[in-house]
């Protein structure tokens, strides 16, 4: 179980001479991912998804808030002490091309973390070899043909599998998949998604899925929660299908409206929402962060910041003063 409360992250970009610019990547995010469960983060580019994923994987520090892994609060620990906890959480990188060291064979790549573990647990060297073959088989690769190869000799999909296998060497409790399929060929994507789903089911690994493609989120974490993030804030949170079917936050609705419609197979949603402007991070921070782009903004929106809340009649949490269901997604022709 991994929980976070009020996680804040601000990047300070140092100007060469004068003036630092602050990027408020996360503005107090709460999340909770149960053991073996799933959660998906969606949002526009630059809204802080990757940052949150990296914080959860322990690759980035956070400025405020609390993250607890299996009940152990990490904020009070020293960086060195946090490390073993964070090892339970492994990040699957978006880009399988840079996630593997081009100068090392797959064997070498898997060997390093395994021998570390063998050292800690007093296992034998044979175990290392065995385990390397095992994790490769787990991700659907043939150890015999893959082990001796260099990354450049593998296809993108195979590499992503190797990356996942490498993450499995340390028996993680959670995988953070940051757009893990966006750079993989369309025909292979589903394979990786299925693999993650499979691992979740078989090994009980929870999966945090970061994407801007809602449909994939549905595929892998359909039974989990969906977090819609906008400019570092969670604006809507709830069961995946609920949000897809009945989004209440105009931002979520904009996102869903933007999904291309398979004309001919699908019927466009009746009330598509188009934001008024495009994203501008330097916009004022006052009031609702989405206010300026929101076609439905009310008076309160420009002066007050709505917080994640539950309101009557809405099953999911949302951060909008005027929540309203709109039918935005396309439906298959057959259903209509």
């Amino acid at each position: 179980m991994i929980t976070g409360t009020g996680v804040v992250k601000t990047f300070k970009q140092r100007g060469k001479v004068l003036g630092a610019r602050e990027v408020r990547a996360l503005r107090g995010v709460d999340f909770a991912i149960p053991k073996g469960g799933a959660a998906s983060f969606i949002g526009e580019s630059g809204c802080g998804k990757t940052t949150l994923g990296r914080i959860i994987a322990g690759l980035e520090t956070y400025d405020e808030g609390e993250i607890a892994i299996d009940g152990v609060s990490l904020s009070s620990l020293k960086p060195k002490q946090r490390q073993p906890h964070f090892r339970k959480i492994q990040l699957i990188h978006q880009d399988p091309y840079s996630a593997l060291n081009p100068t090392r064979t797959i064997h070498q790549t898997l060997h390093a973390p395994l021998s570390l573990r063998a050292g800690q647990t007093g296992r034998s060297k044979a175990w290392i070899e065995e385990r390397a073959a095992e994790v490769l088989s787990l991700v659907g690769l043939d150890p015999g043909s893959v082990l001796a190869r260099y990354p450049h000799q593998l296809s993108g999909g195979m590499r992503q599998r190797v990356v996942i296998a490498r993450a499995l060497t340390v028996d993680p409790e959670m995988l953070v998949a940051d757009e893990a399929v966006s750079m993989i060929d369309v025909s292979l994507r589903l394979g990786i998604l299925a693999l993650l789903k499979d691992l979740r089911e078989r090994l009980g690994v929870s999966v945090l899925f970061i994407t801007h493609d809602v449909a994939t989120a549905r595929y892998i974490g359909g039974d989990g929660e969906l977090y819609v993030i906008y400019r570092g804030q969670v604006v809507e949170r709830g069961a995946v299908d609920t949000i897809i079917a009945d989004p209440v936050h105009p931002y979520t609705q904009s996102l869903l409206s933007a999904i291309p419609v398979l004309h001919g197979l699908e019927q466009p949603g009746e009330q598509p929402v188009t934001p008024l402007e495009s994203l501008d991070e330097s916009q004022a921070d006052e009031g609702c962060l989405f206010a300026r782009r929101c076609p439905f903004r009310g008076e309160r929106c420009t002066s007050e910041r709505p917080l994640l809340q539950i309101t009557e009649g809405v099953p999911q949490e949302h951060a909008c003063f005027y929540p309203e269901r709109r039918s935005v997604i396309a439906r298959p022709m057959s259903e209509v």
């Binding site: 526009e44 369309v186 589903l190 449909a215 549905r218 933007a258 495009s278 298959p332």
Partner: protein, 328 residues
């Protein structure tokens, strides 16, 4: 010349790249017709030869590649594959607009958009440069941008979506009526993508263009295209009206591809991965059907006979299994 949308007829086009293993075809024997005024979408996975095909439309395949056979007939221009030198240069930009795969980087970082626009005008002997600027501003305004500001900006001062729109503007400003968009929305986020696609559709209609959109995202094609062509391993495996192809895909690859896409609604378990993996230039089978390794309908004949593209009304499919079934 052509104030009307031109038609394009690609016939038997083969494009090869020189590699250490010899010259290998990235596009093989492709015939495709772009009807005047239509939007045609080409989908295919990475390395299937989409960009190569698109570049052939301008006879701009980069070395070590070359057009090895076939013709690209464009109304009002003739066979582009035979054009050379100045003639070819003048055709580019003026008759055929090209929007880049990575439009993000298709602008000279050292010059303002305006200056590049003027360069473009001068290159094509436009006398009324003011008029050109006016036209550009209008186009940009049409796409929801502040023309004056954009023309005064450098590439790095524009966001990805804005650059893409500038790219479209530059492709259209000389009044080209054939526009090729190579992956116009890759690397853009959802909302921007929707926006750009809308613009493409609208501008197409307003200006009366013939448009070719290339993408690996079936959703994009479905959103904009009238006709859809599916490429695999340098071959066109299926083409036809978008709705029909998506509604009842015939080629096993098209079918697999559509099935591999997770849906927003309905049973998620319906989605199914395609086995195997797409070929690269070196692994594309030299003869026989390019898809056979991953094909659920594989037959013996697939191993050594290239399936012919067989038309059936508006639809064309190149598959032994499908054709056999239908003609038998």
């Amino acid at each position: 010349m052509s104030e009307q949308a031109p038609g394009v007829r690609i016939g038997g086009l083969t494009v090869v790249y020189k590699t250490p293993a010899g010259e290998l075809p990235a596009v093989r024997d492709i015939s495709l017709t772009l009807e005047p005024g239509s939007i045609t979408g080409i989908v295919g996975e990475s390395g299937s030869g989409k960009s190569t095909l698109a570049l052939s439309l301008l006879n701009a395949v980069q070395p070590p590649g070359r057009i090895a056979a076939g013709s690209v007939e464009i109304d009002g221009l003739g066979d582009v594959a035979g054009l050379k030198g100045e003639e070819l240069r003048k055709a580019r930009g003026k008759h055929i607009g090209y929007v880049f795969q990575a439009a993000q980087n298709s602008l000279n970082p050292l010059k303002t958009v305006g200056k590049q626009l003027l360069d473009l005008g001068r290159s094509h002997g436009v006398e009324d440069l003011r008029g050109l600027v006016r036209e550009a501003k209008e186009l940009l305004g049409r796409m929801g941008l502040d023309g004056t500001r954009v023309l005064d900006s450098h590439q790095h001062e524009l966001s990805g979506g804005m650059r893409q729109r500038v790219g479209i503007m530059l492709a259209l400003v000389l009044n080209a009526h054939l526009v090729v968009l190579d992956e116009p929305t890759t690397a853009l986020d959802m909302i921007t993508q929707a926006n750009i696609l809308k613009i493409v559709r609208e501008v197409h209609a307003e200006r009366g263009l013939t448009t070719l959109v290339i993408t690996h995202d079936i959703g994009v094609v479905a959103e904009v295209a009238d006709r859809l062509a599916v490429m695999y391993g340098g071959r066109l495996v299926e083409q036809g009206p978008t709705r029909e192809v998506l509604g009842s895909p015939r080629h096993p690859y098209t079918r697999g591809l559509i099935r591999a896409i997770p849906q927003l609604v309905g049973d998620i378990d319906e989605a199914q991965a395609l086995p195997g993996r797409p070929p690269t230039l070196a692994t594309v089978p030299k003869e026989g059907c390019v898809f056979r390794e991953r094909c659920p309908l594989r037959m013996d004949v697939c191993d050594d006979v290239d399936p012919e593209a067989v038309s059936d009304g508006p639809r064309v499919v190149a598959c032994h299994a499908v054709n056999v079934k239908e003609h038998a």
